[in-house]
Symmetry: none
Subunit: 211 residues, 4 copies
């Protein structure tokens, strides 16, 4: 509703502008994922998006900005989806399940983005200097915190064991990330979400637990 309205209120000019901006981002996402940040040149982005180089620069101030915007917006979307899923879930257990499910679904639809996302956490070193770079790391931490809070909630409800919540959040995130990473590398056609039950079983009861 909001989006529609906001679009309607925009003139055709502005709408076209946004559409082109998004188009460039999509092209850049594909190229960055395929060849990596450094191996992708602005000329390639321009050519692949069928814009002139200078046009690209009217939308994004620099190559860095394209890259960071990419991360920024998609992570926002992911966080938003996670938030929605949590709100619809009741118990901590269900919430965790919901988060993982959303992540699997999301990256299943955004393979290209995952490559960039996974890679990014290292580039942080360099990018953290940039304002936008800092914000992305904050968002990543935000995701971790959300998870940690849920775990804490679960602990106080006697649902989960007394583990340090932040550290558990890290472990769980790492599990999921590695799982997705492997799936993308394998280039299998299997539905990533089909693995959810196993992951959850492992997550809740471990290698040995629950008979």
């Amino acid at each position: 509703m909001e989006n529609l309205n906001s679009k309607d209120l925009l003139g055709r000019r502005e709408q076209e502008r946004r559409w082109r901006r998004q188009y460039i981002l999509n092209v850049a996402e594909r190229l960055f994922a395929q060849k990596g940040y450094h191996q992708t040149t602005m000329a390639e982005i321009a050519k692949a998006s069928e814009f002139g180089m200078a046009t690209i620069y009217q939308f994004f101030k620099s190559k860095d900005k394209i890259y960071l915007t990419l991360l920024h917006e998609k992570i926002d979307l992911l966080l938003k989806l996670i938030k929605q899923a949590i709100e619809e879930a009741q118990t901590p257990l269900e919430k965790i399940k919901a988060i993982i499910q959303v992540k699997l679904k999301f990256f299943q639809k955004n393979r290209d983005f995952f490559r960039i996302y996974a890679l990014h956490r290292q580039n942080i070193v360099v990018l953290l200097r940039e304002e936008l770079g800092k914000k992305i790391d904050e968002k990543y931490q935000e995701g971790l915190s959300t998870l940690a809070q849920i775990i804490e909630e679960g602990i106080s409800q006697g649902e989960f064991k007394r583990f340090p919540p932040k550290e558990m959040a890290v472990l769980i995130s790492g599990m999921i990330q590695a799982f997705i990473h492997e799936w993308i590398k394998s280039e299998e056609e299997v539905q990533l979400t089909s693995k959810l039950p196993i992951i959850l079983d492992f997550l809740f009861y471990g290698l040995k637990g629950k008979i």
Copy 2:
């Protein structure tokens, strides 16, 4: 004993040569970890190691080679340490414990290297063309397989639940990697190995299991 002997057998010249080579690798490791592969220039490596640029090239044919050799040799060392630890352990459970302990110890001592190691898996896209790049990926897979085998062993001994071993290996590796990653980012002085019990508890009994 063996190493000492083999060193004694080498001439002084050869010993010095190896020492210098190693010195360059160490410098490069620090720089790569600090600034990333692309941001580190050969001139910087030369200056920081107090060698002339061309001298660096007498030890390593290219910048790539330095990077890959770095990975190559340290991963070899890690795999060797893991192998030793496994041999000394009896049960699958102890073996997994040993692997994780070794990893935590290793990266506690090799913070710089971890940044490179973690980053590498993504750069694979580009590096896989290189012979040396392929070998490193093989080693990574080797590590996963070892873990998977132990899990399989545990399953057939009724020690672990019937999970798909390879996928469990991925999950566990991801957990550990994320944990180390977070620890390095936090720049805490806490002993990484002190976290072992928590990790193991989570790993074997999950969030909910074994009261």
Copy 3:
């Protein structure tokens, strides 16, 4: 007429582009002739042509390409001039006279190019690997063949003695080349073409012949 038309049909942009390209070639020709291929740097070519380095690279893919294009285009021009001259001549004798006259005139106007041209035949060893390098050698052989054919024609018309035509062509080419070479080295202001009668007399009647 044709050229004018074809130029008129080109847009201003394309015309300018060609002009700049030619300008770079001219500058490179002067520098290569003065200092030789290896002693001439891309930076010098850029500076002397008052373009940025990268601009040079937009016109020519590499330093080699500049050099080879230079040879390529000028040799084409020379061959074209020779062809025209031959067509206007009647007898084999007149044709040979025409060829030599054209060559003398051409290099009189293209002193710089001669140095490059003469030198090239030796560098062939290295350049033959390049596609463009091979083509230039073919053109050189083409020039020799043309001369050889005319000699053959002259022989069958009873005009010339029964000499092996190809070898005569080589001898005559060598004569001319050495003559031009010496003239350029001497840096005399005498018209090179003024020497034509002597050369022809020697060529047709030898040191001793025709009283």
Copy 4:
């Protein structure tokens, strides 16, 4: 006789030294001829001659020096052979014949050297700055002058036509040089000297002369 004596007078040390120096020159000659001056590295010369790099520098002050010494000494030899041949000949005609015959023989035995020799005349541009480089050009001019003198002699004896001697010398040298060049390129096994009669016939009577 002289050489033997002078050798005998030298100590073993000095004899060995000369022999090594010559060995290096021979190796360099082969390499320069194969790959050209710039493409040949000092390291290659060292390796191919089985000396250490610094040892090469004890014999020759620089790469340039090797190259120039090479030219220097072989040209000296050629000039000496030509001188001898001239002294044994009586008439100008016989002298010219002798010169050409000596050249053909010499380069037939020194193919490698010819490549360097032919190429050199262009490198002059760069090398003339060097003292040794100037001397080589002087020697080349000396050769031309000798030939010109003989022609002059022939003219005053009524043997040859009244041509400008220097220019004739240039034409003849060019002929011979081109002929040898073509022969080397063709890599034929035919004896180069077998072509002498044709060359002389052309040289003395031209394409048309003396039926």
